[in-house]
Symmetry: C2
Subunit: 302 residues, 2 copies
């Protein structure tokens, strides 16, 4: 089975492209080029989407943009994903309380998808938008795998460039254990980490440049291997620039349903980091509980 329902996959790719560029309008050629779909193929898919009201075409400019039918679909999706709605409210409060950026994201296939963004970061990081997708490769996504079976962790590691896997295999068990122990992940700011984030974003955006960017990622990940990106031991009196604090929301099967992230905290003491993290983890537990989720027992020791 090479790729069944090719046209369906393309329809999805097109919708994802629009989701990643909220409010954007695009012409047939732009979409065809950006997504690497043949013009004729793209056109037929676009027509199907237009007929359904998923896309609307500007009568003069011939540009496409998202249509109203998707509003109804999104509404229905919210009803099936109570956790997102709930978490959104809670994260709005946290963003205000800590005056920083609060993000809700989810793991989809091999990607990370941003579901909601509240507030603004203290440290200007890369620009995060709802609908954005980026490849979920280490060191990104620790909370998604800290409670996973060894098998899943290996698959995650496998997405990393071959050259890096050996190093990562040494570092990761330690950091994942720390995350699992503490209940949330803390990563510190570093130019390398920032560039990894930026590169991942671009990678999701421009499939055409993928090979070059993947190469760059491998280099960056190699450089990062040497640094302390995940904060394993927090010194109460030290001062940190924190890229992210991330806590998991679990579903009824004990799988990570959502990741709640506090982004871009500037110059906070270790004491504050712990306070922020505990608060975030409490929020995650609240959402987990209210949506009938279950925190898995920390069974697997790596």
């Amino acid at each position: 089975m090479v790729r069944p329902a090719l046209a369906a996959g393309r329809a999805i790719d097109i919708l994802n492209f629009f989701a990643a560029h909220p409010g954007g309008t695009f012409t047939l050629s732009e979409l065809s080029a950006s997504l690497g779909i043949n013009l004729a193929s793209a056109l037929s898919v676009l027509q199907a989407l237009e007929d359904a009201g998923y896309l609307v075409r500007h009568p003069r400019r011939k540009t496409y943009e998202l249509g109203p039918a998707l509003v109804a679909l999104g509404d229905a999706a919210l009803r099936s994903n109570r956790a997102v709605d709930l978490a959104r409210g809670e994260m709005r409060l946290l963003a205000e309380e800590f005056s920083t950026e609060a993000i809700i994201s989810v793991s989809v296939g091999d990607d990370l998808v941003i579901l909601a963004v509240e507030g603004r970061p203290q440290l200007t990081s890369a620009d995060i938008r709802v609908g954005q997708r980026m490849p979920l490769v280490p060191p990104l996504g620790q909370v998604f795998f800290a409670w996973s079976a060894q098998e899943d962790v290996d698959a995650w590691l496998g997405r990393l460039d071959r050259r890096m896997q050996a190093t990562a295999r040494v570092h990761l068990p330690v950091t994942l254990a720390a995350v699992r122990e503490r209940g949330y992940s803390i990563t510190v700011e570093s130019p390398t980490r920032t560039e990894i984030g930026a590169t991942l974003e671009r990678l999701a955006d421009r499939p055409r440049e993928a090979p070059r960017l993947r190469e760059r990622l491998a280099e960056l990940a190699a450089a990062l291997g040497e640094e302390d990106y995940e904060l394993v031991g927090v010194e109460p009196d030290a001062t940190y620039d924190i890229t992210t604090i991330v806590a998991p929301v679990f579903d009824a099967h004990g799988q990570v349903a959502l990741a709640l992230t506090l982004n871009g905290l500037r110059q906070v003491t270790g004491r504050q980091v712990t306070a922020h993290g505990d608060r975030l983890a409490a929020t995650a537990r609240l959402v987990t509980k209210q949506t009938g989720g279950r925190t898995p027992d920390p069974l697997y020791d790596l």
Copy 2:
């Protein structure tokens, strides 16, 4: 061109099915049967949707439901359709103010799609849910065509059963002129009209029963032709049970972007009907203006 991008269309049909049943979970066989898609074909499309996070499959029960990725897509769609968001806020206020049901709907292809529902109707009408689709055949959808070119009105009429078209061709110009003149549509309660609504809903829900239901619709429309469903002249002191008052929101091209509906008013005087309608029309004009829309000049006289 028989039907290009068949799989894309099926993906859309599946998503629409979920949109029309918010919070619902369905098994492969249910979807295949309800939508008339072969099992194997449905499976491949469903797998594509699952990979993208548009659907989530319950690991034990093997049922599908809407996934979190659609939340992000819906969010992006809202950004491209400011009018919906704006109208939603306004309609919430109206629903409270008049203690009745307020609905936002849109015309997609030959269908009417419900985008938002606020409040509860005074008269219990058929149950309206977000995501619901129903065929846009007369007498439904007057506001969508009162400002349209003759050609579009004819196409709309053409969807009606042959037997009814002659009668409708006599009635419609009068009622459409009244709607255009007044700025909104008023339809009065009648058992026939209620059953038409209920039948249209069922028609959208169960494609398999379509032939039988279409037959019934033709009968009902015939019966309705004799009644006064659209209120042309409003007597200030008379008392009415009003099924709907509907006002149009226009887009930048002077096309109807949204229909705003007040639903199920019980026992109101003509004076109140006019007050409600004027208020609703004012809201529609407000949304039109705030979203850069343009009310078309009443050029076409039928």
